[in-house]
């Protein structure tokens, strides 16, 4: 099927099979490997990207469902400089192996856009669908608290 969409502000026109997942199209067709495939069943959240104005799990959305939409991947969230969230994840040791990090960045960017002052439970709920096997979430949560309240 022929689809056209905007990916990180760039127009993409391509032909995909109807069963191709959005995350696979982004990785294989667009060469944007920031979104990962950690589980393929919608649990781990490493594939989170922005579709329109909300984050989605890229393994739970077909590429054809993004026809006509604007998609932002982790490669497209920063305008040159790191965003405050990315900066905080770096400073607060919210990154170890980093495989979950792109999905964390996208899910938290969505959270902070829609809820600029989340409390502790709202922060946790915002990434309840993003697994991290390294950090135990300690550094990730500190980073978000720092962005929201100025201190970790």
């Amino acid at each position: 099927m022929q689809i056209s969409l905007m990916v990180n502000g760039v127009s993409v026109e391509t032909t995909v099979l109807p069963h191709v997942l959005l995350v696979d199209m982004l990785r294989d067709t667009c060469g944007l490997t920031g979104a990962k495939v950690g589980c393929g069943t919608g649990q781990c959240g490493t594939c989170v990207v922005q579709l329109g104005d909300r984050s989605v799990k890229g393994c739970q959305v077909l590429a054809v469902q993004a026809d006509g939409a604007e998609v932002t991947t982790v490669e497209g969230v920063a305008n040159g400089e790191l965003t405050p969230l990315q900066q905080a994840l770096w400073e607060e040791h919210g990154v170890q192996c980093g495989f979950c990090t792109p999905g964390m960045v996208m899910a938290l960017t969505d959270l902070l856009e829609h809820e600029p002052a989340p409390d502790e439970q709202a922060i946790r709920a915002g990434i309840a669908g993003n697994m991290c096997r390294c950090t135990g979430y300690g550094g990730v949560l500190r980073a978000v608290r720092k962005v929201v309240g100025g201190k970790p």
């Binding site: 944007l32 979950c100 709920a125 300690g138």
Partner: protein, 764 residues
């Protein structure tokens, strides 16, 4: 040459600072290339044909239907392996591709190369393998008793470690408790599934870009399998999406190299999550029988333990895991007499091997459950009982080895026990048992508090020649001094790249440090496991820096006209402590300086085969945990309210990174305590997905209270000890103890399921 007064400025981001990760900027931008992100011109994709049977003869393989698909290039079977068709970390007992026999469900039988990953998977499904099923041996007790089929030439026993010390006391006036405990099979569940890219070279060799914990041991095995000299099998570490022991054994590496060399084209392989569950080894499931005897005032007199580990179909690291489980079966306690038998067996279950904690986790659940049971029998506080028996420096372990170096076991326990307890449960259902399922209004909740103490060896043990290699180069570039550090040590997420740079900064007084990609162009670094890399590869970096420093100071001595012994490096200068004069390093580096160093820890000895006695370990590390839980006794749901952990790290090279290891270890421990189990029935994994294999999320993880002690060792770089494993070890035991405390009943198996909790609560 400029000779000037010294400017004493400490180097930034050196040893002891919470330096930021050098790779984190690329990681937060999504630009860091994991092995699954790699690509190459003319690349094709590999896929694996796997056995659906736990035990079967392979009668024949027919690949014609697969090869008839347009875009399918090649199907390889055992006969296509040019070298020795065997690999394995301790014994080479596992075929790269099965020959006439398969021993577990998921064993690789053939590999396929095709133009895209989906086509490769379809082709793999079309490869027809004829099997004759054999009776499967899936019960480790049966394997031990000699019933059922014999799975390997030397029988089904992988290893039996006997530890005997002291005389068992006479039966008078001894308080005795016995228990039987079980630990389920845990998965490392690293988030980045197995993947690699193999690129054939014009010299008939291969360049392999892969995720691993130990490049050189992969290289050794691959060279033998491929029938190539080691120098023709060159490995480079790609981005590694977590490891935790699950990347010690080969997975995709040999298959991708075989296909690439035969096709003359780059081959990529990448598992999905379901395949990953059979693509790597798991933590050994354990069955443990214990007997503890103590005086009425709570002094341990003896410990008897009989431990059985299910090693699955191939040896992997089962022998070493058996050694560890045996050595630490009695825990960090002074026990005059021990009688420990620890065995591992082959079965037709998925192979077990390394996972963070490596045998010490399973027995920790056993010995800590026993300490609580003993405390109850004595009517004694469980903390007091542990304090009364805790080892200290100079104590003798079960293997007869004297504890050298700091052993602040009692202090660690006092610290977690002394933390204020969290407030009673509130009304937010997200913080109550059942969490977001909103299943309680806090009525009838039970709160419990539990403790765990643990010990594990750091570095390799029992006579293993354990070393690391580092090459350090300093050069002048753009008016500045740059140090490059090159090792083969695997950065798997733990932060090794950060600490290597910190060590170079401190040793050389240079701020700009680059960590080169890890590859086999430099000497062996050993494995990124056993909590050893900061000690060993960190030690190697430090030693190489010392050699570089000596040459810099020689050059400075000539310029300054002073003896090198009075000079030191600081802030990019060589400084004289006598005259106060200094010379910038840039001016000493008209030609660059490069040094390579090898670092070894002290020798260890194998354990005596009859008594299990011997100085087998370089060092012991200790941790203490306190868990607080709320339990809904009707549904059996558990909310972990808080976990406190105290750990002695000798020296925190990077305090924030140490905390990161503690948080992550606690999370994996909580997972093993409550939710993580690979369920295996008749050799088949029933839950090979993150839908059914649960790992803790932000909604499961409670606040943690961390306490880091820094009691320096005399025999390690900067006094450090290993950090990675201890924060996991006693976390499951503490959580299980807290649930027992809440419901007032025995729970002898982890993970503790809601069904078990509810049943225990009813039966109390």
């Amino acid at each position: 040459m400029t000779v000037a007064p010294a400017r004493p400025v400490a180097v930034r981001d050196g040893v002891g600072d919470s330096a930021r990760r050098p790779d984190a900027v690329a990681k937060v931008r999504g630009e860091f290339a994991f092995s699954s992100d790699l690509g190459h011109d003319r690349m094709v994709w590999g896929a694996t044909v796997r056995s659906p049977h736990a035990h079967a003869r392979v009668l024949g393989v027919d690949a014609s239907a697969a090869l008839a698909l347009p875009g399918v290039h090649l199907v390889l079977t055992a006969g296509d392996v040019p070298g020795v068709n065997r690999y394995g970390l301790e014994r080479r007992d596992q075929p790269v591709l099965a020959e006439d026999l398969v021993r577990y469900i998921g064993e690789a039988v053939a590999v396929v190369a095709a133009d895209d990953p989906e086509l490769a998977r379809r082709a793999a499904a079309l490869v027809r393998v004829d099997y004759a099923e054999l009776p499967a041996l899936t019960d480790p007790e049966l394997a031990l008793s000699g019933g059922g089929p014999v799975l390997h030439e030397d029988g089904n026993l992988v290893r039996h470690l006997r530890i005997r010390r002291g005389a068992m006391p006479a039966a008078a006036d001894i308080v005795v408790v016995t228990g039987e405990y079980e630990v389920g099979m845990q998965d490392q569940a690293f988030l980045g599934p197995e993947s690699c890219l193999a690129v054939p070279d014009a010299d008939d060799g291969v360049d392999l870009y892969c995720s691993t914990q130990w490049l050189h041991v992969d290289q050794d095995q691959l060279a033998d399998c491929l029938g190539l000299p080691a120098e023709k099998v060159r490995l480079t570490l790609s981005g590694v999406g977590g490891a935790f022991g699950g990347r010690e054994d080969l997975s995709v590496q040999a298959h991708a190299c075989l296909l690439a060399l035969r096709l003359g084209r780059p081959v990529k392989m990448s598992y999905g999550r379901e395949e990953s569950f059979v693509g790597h080894v798991h933590r050994h499931p354990a069955r443990m029988r214990y007997e503890h005897g103590a005086t009425r005032d709570g002094r341990l007199l003896y410990v008897k333990a009989d431990i059985l580990l299910d090693g699955g179909a191939y040896a992997s690291t089962s022998a070493a895991v058996t050694g560890n489980a045996g050595c630490f079966a009695a825990g960090p306690y002074e026990v005059p007499a021990v009688e420990i038998d620890c065995r591992s067996v082959y079965t037709n279950n998925p192979p077990a091997g390394a996972m963070r904690g490596f045998g010490a986790v399973q027995v920790c659940f056993g010995h800590e459950s026993q300490m609580d049971r003993l405390a109850a029998a004595l009517g004694m506080d469980p903390v007091e009982l542990r304090l009364r028996n805790a080892v200290d420096t100079g104590s003798v372990m079960a293997t007869g080895q004297r504890v050298e170096g700091p052993a602040p076991v009692a202090e660690l326990l006092r610290r977690v026990a002394g933390k204020p307890l969290p407030p009673p449960p509130g009304t937010d259902p997200r913080l109550l048992p059942g969490g977001m399922s909103n299943s309680t209004r806090a009525e009838g909740l039970l709160r419990g508090v539990g403790y765990g103490l643990s010990v594990k060896n750091i570095c390799k043990s029992a006579g293993y020649d354990d070393f690391g290699t580092a090459r350090v180069r300093v050069l002048a570039r753009g008016g500045d001094v740059l140090a490059e550090v090159h090792t083969a040590a695997a950065e798997v997420g733990q932060g090794l790249v950060t600490v290597q740079a910190q060590i170079a900064r401190t040793e050389l007084g240079v701020e700009r440090v680059t960590i080169l990609p890890a590859d086999t162009a430099v000497g062996d670094a050993g494995t990124s496991s056993a909590s050893r890399q900061t000690w060993i590869s960190g030690g190697a970096v430090r030693a190489a820096c010392a050699a570089v420093r000596a040459r810099l100071l020689e050059r400075a001595a000539e310029v300054l006209g002073e003896g090198a012994e009075a000079l030191r490096l600081e802030s990019g200068q060589a400084v004289s402590e006598l005259s106060g004069r200094a010379v910038p390093l840039v001016e000493l580096l008209v030609t660059e300086i490069e040094e390579t160093a090898v670092f070894r820890h002290r020798d260890t000895q194998p354990l005596d085969p009859e008594t299990g006695q011997g100085d087998a370990h370089v060092a012991y590390a200790f941790a203490a945990h306190r868990a607080v839980v709320d339990v809904d006794p009707e549904l059996g749901s558990v909310r972990v309210v808080e976990i406190a952990c105290a750990q002695d790290v000798g020296k925190a090279i990077n305090p924030a990174a140490v905390e990161g290891q503690m948080h992550g270890g606690i999370a994996q421990g909580l997972g093993l305590a409550l939710m993580e189990e690979v369920k295996v029935r008749d050799g088949r994994i029933l839950n090979p997905s993150f839908t059914d294999y649960l790992i803790p999320t932000t909604m499961d993880m409670p606040p943690t209270v961390l306490d880091i002690l820094e009691l320096p060792r005399a025999d390690s770089p900067y006094g450090l000890t290993g950090v990675g494993e201890p924060p996991l070890l006693s976390a499951p035991a503490a959580v299980a103890a807290a649930i027992r405390d809440a419901v007032g009943a025995a729970l002898d198996r982890i993970p503790v399921t809601p069904e078990a909790v509810a049943a225990a609560a009813v039966g109390r």
